[in-house]
Subunit: 206 residues, 4 copies
DNA sequence: AATGAATGAGTGTTCATTCAT
DNA sequence: AATGAATGAACACTCATTCAT
């Protein structure tokens, strides 16, 4: 945001970034939603454009190709998810309730498995793009891991690999995609609570 | 009416060429692998055919269209997974070790989130096809749920919804898709053990 | 039907002609019906085979390819039409009534315009095949023309080119394909009578 | 809200390139010709595209699918035929000569039987598309019927069903497709005259 | 800043045809 | 006499991408 106009043509990093942010943000939001809902292949640039009320060519005006749009869109949602999560985990109350809250948030947004989407999209992305997305994802996991680490240090939860714990925690949340489960239990809120409770107490009787 | 009705009525034409189901099974196996690895859209019938060393038209000889092939392929892997799992869960030893074994098996096979794949493919499948796949999937979950149910009855694990438990358990296994995790820990075997342990003991300190 | 077994391999003319006539005739009849109903392209050999309860390969056993089957099928129906027409035109009664009868017959069978079908099929036929069909068609027209010729000689109808007359006569019969007309008038019989009357009296008032 | 609402709101982006409808009309004309010559199935979009010097994808840019192109193409020729016919039938001179003129025009254009083509295409068209084409066709028949009606009222021709008359009249014109006839008589003009004369005077001697 | 037009490469699907049995 | 298996060529259709304006 600072020294943008200094260099005449800065190649790496976020590519085209001129244009009224209005339209660009609109495209980004729409694309994010569609990608998270349908995955990489199923979303056509035509559909993104239509949903924004612009033409395909306009999308290309802001994003050099589908891979770039996908990358920015994912970084966009990861950023939001991260920010939301920071607010929640740093909030007050016992860890377990904060985790339930995080679970509720995630299960309300993500519709398709992140890993599966990446597996689908990776072949079309540049290495750099994959790395950037991975970084965004890692940030989220590092955030959760740090929370777990702290909780272990304070004896709030028992000892284990915090990073693995973060992955297991988020993996569990994909249960929300399974219709039978969520329908049976009616509300996302209830499901998320149950899952966290399950994870919290473990299988072993005590 | 001569000597025709004496013999078991040998059907005319080229006999079913004992080695022939080979091709069909070959296609089925290949398709299963590719679909589980890349999802529905990404797998082209061309690629399936090529991987089998036959032509696209040959695939159509055995399966009337992509949706049909997909359906049979998934039922194929679900059947195998179910059979494998039956063997393991009915085996000897403590539940926890049997679950680790199941986890190891699953993580060695499934590459992409089942739900995500179904979400991708559903629009192209007939209702009946979706139902058949769902049934196959349910069978697996019912199997696990019954195991959990029994373990609860015997006080081996603490009480909770066994079906939800089954979904959470399988969801956790998708962690294997996340390269960093599995790579860091080197072996699928170790990861699966750690995950089951995590699930077993829960987060709460005791 | 006579000196078939004399020469070892007689190439020209009707090609393969072994096999139980049963099946062959069945295929011929079925194909005739389908071709007359749907035209050349729309009829797949698969559909012919299925309608006969045999396999595609069996069709090939009797007819070397689609063009050959088409040719034989058309000659088959033309022969029948010719025979039927001979019976009618040589019958008793005034010409006008015999023509109405011919009209009724034709309109009951032919569903698609002969010329249009030939235009569709010609590019796939050999010159010889086209000629043979044309000959069969011509025979029908020559038959009608001879009838007209005789009627003119006897002063039963006024003088004109008998061959053109035959073509005009048969062309008029295609009116039967136009649903509105035939539906309005309810019966094929009535329509054919009306058409012949129209042709008979002409437009000019007298 | 500044100086925006003053100007007639010049739409952004590349203007409609005055010469551009060229391509669409070109495709329409070419398709019309090919469909009228070869029918629905035989015309591939590839061939249409090639004949226009564009790619298949360009055809799809203007027409959403083959059925749509077919519909527009037929409406296009029906419109032209209607307009031409209006000019002729409303012209001066005796009805018989005007009909000869109409015959000459039609026989110069239509190459395949309309009904047969519709029978071939209908299964692929939407109901609405079929209706639109039928409407266009009916318009032509109603036009001719009205001419006949008037002529009957004025005693110029003898009484009969004017709509049937229109169908018979146009059916007769398909004689032009039969090569032998038209070739024998050398010119379309002469054939059309002869046909109309035949229809005019009828078969019955006077 | 945004667009209409055009394209090339690919996808699922169909079908006539062949051949060993 | 009849068949199961396999194929190649075509076809309708989609989509990411480019470019002049």
């Amino acid at each position: 945001m600072t020294s943008k106009s200094e260099q005449p043509k800065r190649r790496p990093g976020r590519p085209k970034a001129t244009g009224s942010p209005q339209t660009m943000v609109q495209i980004l939001k729409t694309a994010s939603f569609l990608f998270m809902e349908q995955g990489y292949e199923k979303v056509s640039l035509e559909s993104v454009a239509q949903a924004c009320g612009v033409t395909k060519a306009s999308v290309y005006y802001y994003f050099s190709n589908k891979a770039a749009l996908f990358t920015e869109a994912l970084l966009f949602v990861l950023k939001i998810a991260h920010d939301q999560t920071v607010l929640i985990v740093n909030g007050p109350g016992p860890l377990r309730e904060r985790l339930s809250e995080v679970a509720k948030r995630h299960m309300g947004n993500a519709h398709i498995d992140f890993e599966t989407m990446m597996r689908e999209a990776s072949p079309e992305l540049t290495e750099e793009q994959v790395d950037r997305i991975r970084d965004g994802e890692q940030a989220l996991h590092r955030l959760l891991a740090s929370v777990f680490r702290r909780a272990m240090d304070e004896g709030e939860i028992s000892e284990s690999d915090p990073m693995l714990l973060s992955h297991v925690f988020t993996a569990t949340l994909t249960v929300r995609n399974r219709k039978e489960i969520v329908n049976d239990l009616q509300t996302v809120g209830q499901t998320s609570s149950e899952i966290v409770q399950l994870l919290w107490r473990g299988l072993e009787p005590r």
